[in-house]
Amino acid sequence: MQISMTINGTDVTREIEPRVLLVHFIRDDLRLTGTHWGCDTTNCGTCVVLMDGQPVKSCTVLAAMADGHTITTVEGLAHGATLDPVQQGFMEEHGLQCGFCTPGMMLTARALLDHNPHPEPLEIREAISGQICRCTGYATIVRSIQWAAEHPAGAAPETTTSESTEHEVHA
C-alpha cells in the first residue's frame, strides 16, 4: 500500500507492506536511525517520536496509521545548526550516557515543554515515566529538562560550555 506523511518537515510517499511498524518504516525505509527500538511490549519508549506534536511509541503504531500525519524524530529536533534547548540541556546536565533512550526522552521533553513551559520535577518524571533509561538514574534527565525550561531560547554559543554546577557534597 502507499502512504504519505510529513517527516521532519519533508513530505514522503512510500510503498509499504501494511503490517510494517512505524519504527521500522522510520529506521529501515527512511534510514532515520536516531529512533531506536528496545522491547517487544511497548514498555521501553526508546522508539518515541512525535505524531502531530504528541509523543507516541512508534513500535506500537503501524506506518499505515501515520498516513497523513506529521512526524518529528530526533533528527528534526534541531533547527539547522542550532540545537533545541532540550538537546542543549541534555549535554549541559549529563542527561545521557549510552544515548539509546535519549532521542525518545528528548522528544517527550519537547512535547511537555510545548504544553507546559515550566514543569515541576514531578511533572517531568510523570511525563517520562513510560520510558526506561538503564544508565542515568533519571535525576540528570530531570535536570536536563529543567535546564531547557530555564533556557527557552537555548544558550548563546559562547556560553554553551558547561556551567560548573556541583551536585555533590564533600567532607
Partner: protein, 797 residues
C-alpha cells in the same frame, strides 16, 4: 532533594581532592547522540545485507527428535536455514565458553534451557526472517527439567550435561577461600553467632539496546568484518579466530556505539557466531539483532546465589568472623566470565569493610535447565553478591545485639592506619579511610533525626525504614600473574600520537557503552601533557585501529586502561623533553616541565610548547640518538594490584502497611573512587547504579516455574525502575587515592550497583521490624513484603 554546594575546598585533605584534567566538562560524544547520529549495531546497513533470526526452544529440557526446514526454505525471501546438523558438519555446533566449558551454538542433541538456539534463518528482510521461523517444524521429546539449584545434586536428578564424557551429575565446581579451621575455631568460642540464608535472585542486565551483530565475510580475501555489541572487541577477535579457524589477522571486530552493556555484552552468544556462519554460507553480509524476549531469556543473566551466611561477634559488638556456603546456579552451560582462577569471581571479598579475625567461604556451582551466564549486571565479578551478604549479615547482627547498625559498622571498620590491608581471604586492599565517608553520609542524611522520626512514626503504626550499606569494591582486574580469561592476561594497551600541529589521538583497548571514554581518556591525556581535551581524539571499539587489551567490564576501564593512558602520556612527555632539548640546544636534564611546555630551568621564557615540540619531532631538527622522528608512544599496562573503591549508602523507605508497597523516599550515596577525573560523569555512573540497586531490591527478578518456563522474559514481567520509582539521588564524595595507580583513580562504574541493594533491603527489613522480620529476600515487591508481614516469604526460585 539535591544538596547544592560550591566547589568544595578541603585544605586538610590536600590537593588530591581536585578532579584532574579540566574536571567537569561536557562530554565529547554527546553532540552526535543528541542529534540522533549515534551509530549502533542495528543502524549499520551494508550493501546486499541479509537478516537473520533464531528459532528458539519452547521447553527447558528435551531431546531433539527432528527438524524439518523444507517449508521455511521454500519461502521466497529465505536464502538459508541453518541447523545444528549443518554446524556439526562445519565443526561449529559447539563453542568454548569463557569458563572453559562448551556451549551449543545450535541444538544438536538436547535442549537445555527454554529459549535455547535451535535453528537460524537468513532472509532478505527482518519480517521475512521471522515469518520463516514459523515454518520450521521441530519435534521434541520433553524431559523433566532441573529448575531448583537446591535439587540439582539430588541423587536421581536428570543429568543435564550428558554431552560431556563421563558426566553423571550436575556438579560444576567447588571452590573455597580463607582458613576453615581458623574460622571454625573463632566461631566455636564467640559470644554471639547469627545465621541466615540469603538468596540473591537471578536478575538480568537488560541494557536498552539488545545484543546483535552484522557479519561481513569477504570470500575473496577471506576477511571477516564483524560489527558486534561487545564490551571486549579484542578478546572477541581472538576467540573468533580460535572458534572459526579464520586467522586472527583476517578478523576485524568493530564495536560501534553501544546502547548500554552492564556485563550483558561480554560473552560470545550463539547469535554472533550464527551471523558469521550465515555470511559465510550466503556470501553476503548478515545482520542479527535479538528481540527483548531473546535478550532476557537467553543471554547472560546475573547472580543466582543461595548463600548460607554466619557471623560471629563478641557481645559488645566486635565482629570476629564470617563464613558462608554458597550454592551457585550457573544454568545449562558454565559460561560465566571471570578470571580463570576464580570460578566464583571475586566473591571472596565477602569480608567487606571490616577487620576480622577469620573468614571462610565455599562455593559450589551446579548446572540447571536455565540460561547460562552469571557474571554480569555491573557486578564487579560477584562483588555484588559478596557485599549483599556481608551487609545483610551485619544488619542482622546489629538487630541481635540491639545495636544501631551505623554504630556497629563504625566500631568494626578497618582503620585508616591498617592500609594496605591484607584480609583473611587473600586480598590486599590498597587504600581506605572508611569512617569519614560513613560520617559524611550520616550527616547528609541527618541520621539521628531520621531515627527520631522513625520512632515517632512507629508509635503511630507507620512503617518507615532506614537502611545502611558500607561497601568495599575490588575492581580493575588484574595483575597478569593472577588473572587471565582463557589464557589472555588482563592487561590493556594504549597508543598516543601527537600530530605535527600538536593535536593528539589516543587509541585504547577498552570500549565504552555509555561511560564517556571519549571524554575521560582525553582528560587524562590533557592532564599529563597539558594540551586541552578538545584537541585529543579518543579512538576505541575497532580492533584494526586500537592496541590489544581485554575490554570494559568489572569497572576496569579507569583502573587499567586509564593507567595505560596516563603512562603513555608520560612517555610522550619524557620523549618531548629530549626533542625540546635538541631544539633549544641544551641538555634534557636542564629542562623543567610546566603544563604543556618544557622550559630551561631558571629561565622560563626559553622553552617549547608541546605543539612546537611535535612540529620539531616531525621536522628537520637533528635528534639525539635513540629518539625517533615522531612524538608517539605505546604501552601495555599490567596492574600491580586491583583497586578498592568504597562508599557509604543510606536509604530511607516508607512501606504502605495495607499493600506492602515500598517507596524509596531518600537515598544518600557517598562514594570514594580515589582521584576523580570528571565529577559529572562519576555522578552519572553512581546515579545509574543506584537505580539498578533499587530495581533489584524492589522489582527485578528472572524466575522460573516448575517446568522451567522463564517468567521474566519481557518488560511486562521483568520490571525496571522508571523515573517514578526512584528518588532524586543525594550524592557526596571523599577522596582516598589509590597508591599504585598512576593518577590515583580507582574506578566507579559498578560501585553503586554493588553497594545499593543491601541499603534498600536493610531499609525494608528495618521498616518491618514491628512484624518481627529479620530478613526477607529480594525483590521486595508489594506481594512479598505483604507476605513477610504475615509471617514469611518463600525464597525466590
Amino acid at each position: 532533594m539535591t544538596i547544592l554546594e560550591d566547589r568544595p575546598s578541603n585544605p586538610a585533605a590536600g590537593d588530591h581532592d581536585r578532579p584532574i584534567g579540566h574536571g567537569r566538562m561536557q562530554r565529547k560524544e554527546d553532540p552526535r547522540f543528541v542529534r540522533g547520529k549515534g551509530r549502533y549495531v542495528d543502524d549499520i546497513v551494508l550493501p546486499g545485507m541479509l537478516h537473520g533470526a533464531i528459532l528458539r526452544a519452547p521447553v527447558a529440557h528435551a531431546r531433539l527428535v527432528s527438524i524439518d526446514t523444507s517449508e521455511a526454505l521454500a519461502h521466497p525471501k529465505v536464502l538459508a536455514v541453518i541447523t545444528g546438523t549443518d554446524l556439526q558438519a562445519l565443526g561449529l555446533a559447539w563453542a568454548p565458553t569463557l569458563s572453559m566449558d562448551v556451549q551449543a551454538v545450535l541444538v544438536t542433541d538436547k535442549v537445555r534451557f527454554q529459549g535455547q538456539e535451535v535453528a537460524f534463518v537468513v532472509a532478505e528482510d527482518r519480517y521475512a526472517a521471522r515469518d520463516a521461523l514459523e515454518l520450521i517444524q521441530v519435534e521434541y521429546d520433553v524431559l523433566p527439567p532441573v529448575v531448583d539449584a537446591r535439587k540439582a545434586m539430588d541423587p536421581g536428578a536428570p543429568v543435564i550435561r550428558d554431552d560431556l564424557p563421563g558426566r553423571t551429575d550436575n556438579h560444576i565446581f567447588d571452590w573455597e577461600a580463607g582458613d576453615k579451621a581458623e574460622t571454625d575455631a573463632v566461631f566455636a568460642s564467640a559470644d554471639v553467632v547469627v545465621k541466615q540464608e540469603i538468596v540473591y535472585p537471578r536478575v538480568h542486565p537488560a541494557p536498552m539496546e539488545t545484543c546483535g551483530a552484522v557479519a561481513d565475510f569477504d570470500p575473496i580475501d577471506g576477511r571477516l568484518t564483524l560489527y558486534e555489541t561487545t564490551q571486549a572487541p579484542h578478546a572477541h577477535r581472538t576467540l573468533f579466530a580460535m572458534v572459526s579457524g579464520i586467522p586472527e589477522h583476517k578478523i576485524r571486530v568493530v564495536s560501534p556505539d553501544i546502547g548500554g552493556g552492564f556485563g550483558n555484552k561480554v560473552g560470545i552468544y550463539p547469535g554472533y557466531i550464527l551471523a558469521v556462519v550465515g555470511s559465510i554460507v550466503t556470501g553476503k553480509p548478515v545482520k542479527w539483532v535479538e528481540d527483548r524476549s531473546e535478550n532476557l531469556m537467553s543471554t547472560s543473566f546475573a547472580r543466582d546465589y543461595i548463600m548460607q551466611g554466619e557471623i560471629a561477634a563478641t557481645k559488645d559488638g566486635k565482629i570476629l568472623a564470617l563464613r558462608t556456603n554458597v550454592l551457585a546456579d550457573h544454568g545449562a552451560f558454565n559460561a560465566t566470565a571471570q578470571p580463570t582462577k576464580y570460578p566464583a569471581g571475586f566473591f571472596h571479598i565477602f569480608t567487606g569493610s571490616y577487620d576480622l579475625a577469620a573468614a571462610h567461604c565455599t562455593v559450589t556451582g551446579v548446572y540447571t535447565n536455565k540460561a547460562p551466564g552469571g557474571v554480569a549486571y555491573a557486578c564487579s565479578f560477584r562483588v555484588t553478591e559478596a557485599v549483599y551478604l556481608v551487609e545483610r549479615m551485619v544488619d542482622i547482627l546489629a538487630r541481635k545485639l540491639d545495636m544501631d547498625p551505623a554504630e556497629l559498622r563504625l566500631k568494626n571498620f578497618i582503620r585508616k592506619e591498617q592500609f594496605p590491608y591484607a584480609n583473611k581471604t587473600g586480598w590486599e586492599y590498597d587504600s581506605g579511610d572508611y569512617e569519614p565517608t560513613m560520617r559524611l553520609s550520616m550527616k547528609m542524611a541527618g541520621y539521628d533525626e531520621l531515627r527520631r522520626e522513625q520512632k515517632e512514626k512507629r508509635e503511630r503504626g507507620e512503617l518507615m525504614g532506614i537502611g545502611i550499606s558500607f561497601f568495599t569494591e575490588t575492581v580493575g582486574a588484574g595483575p597478569r600473574k593472577d588473572m587471565d580469561i582463557l589464557g589472555l592476561g588482563m592487561a590493556d594497551g594504549a597508543e598516543l600520537r601527537i600530530h605535527p600541529t600538536g593535536k593528539a589521538v589516543v587509541r585504547i583497548s577498552v570500549q565504552s557503552q555509555g561511560q564517556g571514554h571519549e571524554t575521560t581518556f582525553a582528560q587524562i591525556v590533557a592532564e599529563e601533557i597539558g594540551i586541552p581535551p578538545e584537541d585529543i581524539d579518543v579512538v576505541h571499539g575497532d580492533t584494526d585501529q586500537t592496541p590489544f587489551g581485554l575490554g570494559t567490564y568489572g569497572s576496569r576501564s579507569t583502573p587499567v586502561s586509564g593507567a595505560a593512558v596516563a603512562l603513555v602520556a608520560r612517555k610522550v612527555r619524557e620523549k618531548a623533553r629530549f626533542i625540546a632539548a635538541a631544539m633549544l640546544e641544551t641538555r634534557p636534564e636542564d629542562l623543567e616541565w610546566e603544563k604543556g611546555r618544557w622550559f630551561v630551568k631558571g629561565d622560563p621564557s626559553v622553552g617549547k610548547t608541546m605543539a612546537e615540540i611535535a612540529m620539531g619531532a616531525h621536522g628537520t631538527v637533528a635528534l639525539p640518538e635513540g629518539i625517533d622522528g615522531n612524538l608517539d608512544a605505546e604501552v601495555t599496562y599490567d596492574p600491580p594490584n586491583l583497586t578498592f573503591p568504597f562508599g557509604a549508602y543510606i536509604c530511607v523507605v516508607d512501606v504502605d502497611p495495607g499493600t506492602g508497597h515500598v517507596k524509596v523516599r531518600r537515598f544518600i550515596a557517598v562514594d570514594d573512587c580515589g582521584t576523580r577525573i570528571n565529577p559529572m560523569i562519576i555522578e552519572g555512573q553512581i546515579h545509574g547504579g543506584l537505580t539498578d540497586g533499587v530495581g533489584m531490591a524492589l522489582m527485578e527478578i528472572i524466575e522460573f516455574d516448575d517446568e522451567g518456563n522463564c517468567l521474566g522474559g519481557s518488560f511486562m514481567d521483568y520490571l525496571i525502575p522508571t523515573a517514578m520509582e526512584v528518588p532524586d539521588w543525594e550524592t557526596g564524595f571523599t577522596v582516598t587515592p589509590s597508591p599504585h595507580h598512576p593518577i590515583g583513580a580507582k574506578g566507579v562504574g559498578e560501585s553503586a550497583t554493588v553497594g545499593s541493594p543491601p541499603a534498600v533491603v536493610n531499609a525494608v527489613v528495618d521498616a518491618l521490624t514491628p512484624f518481627g522480620v529479620v530478613h526477607m529476600d529480594m525483590p521486595c515487591t508489594p506481594a512479598r513484603v505483604w507476605e513477610a508481614m504475615q509471617g514469611g516469604t518463600r525464597p525466590p526460585v
